[in-house]
Assembly symmetry: C2
């Protein structure tokens, strides 16, 4: 019988001092519990998403030095942990010093070298090269090392052998992506299991949360345990890490699978915990159900955890939210009040002459329901002053001394209002209370840049920007029903037509609002950005012509005919949004606040994009011409 | 004798239609000139920095279809060009369809397959995985293919054989990074040259401009030609490409080296050109000098080309620049007036009560010298109104009905001024004339976030943000002396102390200004961001203690003693800026405008960073304690 502690710690990226302090505490506790082996997550000393901090020599040395502290703490306990490894005599392919993403095994003050490894640690074999991952930018893989040494993986991959109470154990140790090998030429687990009789598999990970991802993980990892008829221990960290533009929560959800692929122990999501299990003995465990992870409660949990932790990291205790009487700002208000306490939230309604009594009333009602701080700061005077000032300013062309003036169009006036609200009032008020103000954009708006730069698109964090509008509504219901258990978000806000109320064309009382028809466009935009092979107008138009569009993008049947009377209308709408998505919206996203990732492809440095302008393929143009009856 | 055209075309990223049109024109011209072989740059059909556009199936098919057009145009001419290649039956390691960065050779309507290649094209072997490059995210390398096929590179790398006028030629064809193999386990050129008798080397590239990089390229490529005693043709594109946050110019500078490593033909930087050369015959060429590429004239050229092209791409014809009477906005004004013509530039001076008569006068003088449009739009009224409005707004805590008000500090007032200028006036005025406004930040300010978000840090482009302050001054002199050949930037602007003039503490007439001491901090900050292995406070403090700091960072001798009387002063300054650089400045850069890259590490998506807060290593803390005489 081997007593194992899987230690789901909270990893602070770029802060080895804090991480090692937490690890030493966990080791102490495990020792007191007579643990044989304690297992920590991948890169638990340095953190994982660090950007070019990996290029700092001093930081690398510091991580190695902290690694020594952990090794020194391994008297009478076997410690498995992730850290950077450096070979100062070799180079990465960028010419910088050789770095490995490594799994160390320390026991009685010494490292245990896997039999065939050239180093006293296990090296990560497979590097994820999609979404937010940048392993191949910084680290050298075991696969590359094998190539360099003119070996194949069979010659270099081997288990970690430890002797626990006189029993020799063969531990098949891998790192994160090594367990997700379906699309690679080699599967580290298969190589290990074919060449050795293993006692268990250990996967240490730094695996960010994605809505629904754990379902797949359970399928894949349970199968690995079952196929090889040995237990598998998956240890993941909690915390948040970011690549600047995009912030990821790490949900932990560490899990032990038995040799039949049943879940026999788990750590809860987003909770630091030492959990214990006895393996290879006579202990019997009842299989646990697969934790559900694909409904709005999981999104709520990820948002709550991620925002709370982000606020803590940037030491922000007071938050200002501009509320319009619309759904996005209402959901943001309820969420932040839930996170920080209503007393730390100031809601500000900033009416112009275009704001209806309806939305002003709903704003006030929301603030009262939540018990936040509340203020009304009107914008009309400064907006009028600004338009006046502009239109009365002499602009002199000094080469000719000609004097001219500008005319401010109604479209420009809309954006002046939005910037007045955010850059003048919210930014100034937030600074005055030493706090920040939020960006309440949803993913549909963010997709097409339906927002004003330095206006409603600004803020310290865009917490809801990875949620489609339908998910914002789901979250509103969830907050009312399950979090507050009363109607804090007034039903009127849920029912009202979404509108920016920046002109008389957007009069909510007349039922006028956003040009985005969310029940259809949410799904169209989702196809653009979240599809596995990304969808473009060519695909959309083909599906439209085949009458399979709704099925393909997943929106309600009948919507296409409802919104578009003719092919021309349809194409006009499609090109409008595609032009924005790949045009002005890219420019806006470049200057957008950081986004908290929820979906399988968030904006920022997850969905990577260049400001190259819209493009239509040959095939699209041909199909369009055919549908419109034009000759090309 | 073989007549070769090296075609340095302007590549528009994500616009295969435009690129193929240009290629077909170049091919026509080359045919009329009886050319045997025409060579185009790497990825000249799709472009290179496209972000996740590579995940669009329709786009991939479109590029292949345009590739067919080029193949069809190869009657009586051998065409070498770069394009994406797709194997629809295989997968990349991310599970998406297999993509290669490929060099195609078409002749008489058919592709020529390199003898040992499994495909009718050459596959890029080495992938740059630093700075802006993302090859390993999207493409599958020849090295990975060899591993997958259980071959080594000797078994799969082979030349392209073409028969020109009855003469069989062995062309050693490689792509970009394949020629920069110093840090890799394999050198494609060596493998080719060891296994085959080649007639020439051809390197097709998509190589972005970096200040000083061409010097290194000449050394490396000349040696390759000389060592192997064959000519080498390097073909690079011009144009601009971006990864969203960072914009790169491609300077072309295509070059032919003879078998002695001499330069015998070049295309000029940033100019689309078909250039011709006869090789393997009796033509004699006089060696050309190595074009100099490391003084301010090259930076000017890159900025001029890059900004002009960016403006064209986003169809911006009118630009507004807020001018303060300081050096950054003055240089921006002179540069944009040079690019777009003074008649398309509107300079706006936006004084508050803190702006001196001196800088107001200098602003006016600058505008007159350039002959731009000029306006004065004061901010004091709205700033006062805003402070007043804030301080008189009732904020009600609705849980208790307590009412409180905010106090606006002088620091907050500074930022209110900055946001009023940019978000209210410049953004509004720019929209009113259907133009954009510039961000004039330099790299020193950008490093430590000495700027206001939604204030002076905003704009459509930060054109000077990869220039240190000393380079901004060099550029000022260059513009006066070599571009305008008269003093358009007043000497007073060059001489005045840099200051934000946001409070009475920043009174230029009293010689007060920025807290950044540029002659020292420019170099300190450069060490943080541009050093090969990045420098941190640990390195800086060590060098300080050894009295080698000035030598290490390259600033003038004597400055450290001049600025810092004691070690405590020095450490206090160091930590102040490090805290900002890795703290608030990261948050600001996340929302900064796109930056035009000049240096070997620009902000944006070149220097990649996470918002993780400042960190000090163990060794730093120990050294600090020692220097301060503290006990740890």
């Amino acid at each position: 019988m081997v007593k194992i502690c899987f230690s789901q710690i909270d990893v602070e990226p770029s802060h080895p001092d804090l991480n090692v302090e937490r690890m030493l505490q966990a080791i102490d506790e495990a020792k007191q519990n007579n643990t044989d082996i304690i297992i920590f997550p991948e890169m638990c000393i340095p953190g994982y998403l660090l950007g070019d901090t990996w290029e700092q020599t001093a930081f690398l040395k510091d991580c190695l030095s902290y690694g020594e502290d952990i090794i020194a703490a391994s008297q009478d306990i076997c410690i498995i942990f992730g850290n950077i490894a450096v070979d100062w005599d070799k180079k990465n392919t960028d010419g910088r010093v050789r770095k490995y993403n490594a799994l160390y095994t320390a026991y009685n003050g010494k490292l245990i070298k896997p039999e065939k490894s050239p180093y006293p640690f296990v090296i990560k074999t497979l590097f994820p090269n999609y979404r937010e991952f940048d392993d191949s930018r910084y680290f050298f893989s075991l696969q590359s090392l094998a190539t360099e040494l003119k070996l194949n993986l069979n010659d270099i991959l081997s288990p970690v052998k430890v002797n626990i109470k006189g029993q020799e154990l063969n531990l098949g140790c891998i790192l994160c992506e090594d367990g997700w090998s379906d699309d690679y030429a080699f599967a580290p687990i298969d190589i290990l299991c074919q060449n050795y009789k293993l006692d268990m598999l250990i996967n240490i990970s730094a695996s960010p949360y994605t809505f629904g991802k754990n379902n797949k993980r359970h399928r894949v990892f349970a199968k690995q345990a079952k196929d090889n008829n040995i237990p598998l221990i998956y240890v993941n960290n909690i915390g948040i890490q970011n690549n600047g533009k995009t912030i990821y929560t790490f949900d932990g959800s560490s899990t032990v699978y038995d040799e039949n692929g049943n879940i026999i122990a788990t750590c809860p999501a987003y909770k630091a915990q030492n959990n214990y299990i006895n393996l290879l003995g006579n202990d019997e465990y009842t299989p646990l159900p697969i934790p559900q992870n694909d409904d709005i409660s999981n999104i709520y949990q990820a948002l709550h955890y991620g925002i709370k932790k982000f606020l803590k990291n940037i030491r922000m205790q007071k938050v200002i939210i501009g509320i319009s009487g619309g759904i996005d700002s209402a959901v943001a208000s309820a969420l932040y009040a839930d996170i920080l306490g209503a007393e730390n939230i100031t809601l500000i309604n900033m009416p112009s002459k275009f704001n209806s009594a309806t939305t002003k009333g709903l704003s006030s009602q929301l603030a009262h329901n939540l018990g936040c701080n509340y203020a009304i700061v009107p914008i009309q005077e400064v907006v009028d002053f600004t338009v006046n000032q502009f239109e009365n300013t002499d602009i002199t062309h000094l080469a000719t001394n000609d004097v001219h003036k500008v005319q401010v169009s109604s479209f420009v006036k809309e954006n002046i209002q939005a910037r007045d609200r955010s850059a003048r009032i919210l930014a100034g008020m937030a600074a005055s209370i030493s706090g920040g103000f939020t960006c309440n954009a949803n993913k549909a708006e963010t997709t097409v840049g339906y927002s004003t730069l330095y206006g409603d698109q600004s803020g310290f964090l865009a917490g809801l920007a990875d949620l489609w509008k339908y998910q914002v509504y789901e979250l509103a219901h969830y907050l009312n029903e399950h979090v507050y258990k009363r109607e804090v978000i007034p039903q009127g806000i849920i029912d009202i037509v979404p509108s920016a109320e920046l002109s008389s064309e957007q009069d909510v009382d007349a039922g006028k609002g956003d040009p985005i028809k969310y029940p259809y466009h949410d799904y169209l935009f989702r196809a653009f950005v979240e599809s596995w092979q990304k969808v473009t107008p060519e695909d959309i138009l083909l599906w439209y012509s085949e009458k399979t569009l709704e099925e393909h993008i997943g929106c309600k049947a009948g919507l296409v005919d409802k919104y578009f009377a003719t092919a021309k209308d349809f194409i006009c709408d499609l090109e409008r949004w595609w032009n924005l998505f790949t045009g002005m919206a890219v420019a806006k996203r470049i200057q957008a606040p950081p986004i908290l990732a929820i979906s399988r492809r968030a904006y920022g440095f997850d969905h990577r994009e260049s400001q190259n302008g819209p493009y239509y393929t040959k095939a699209y143009k041909q199909l369009k011409a055919k549908l419109l009856g034009d000759n090309l």
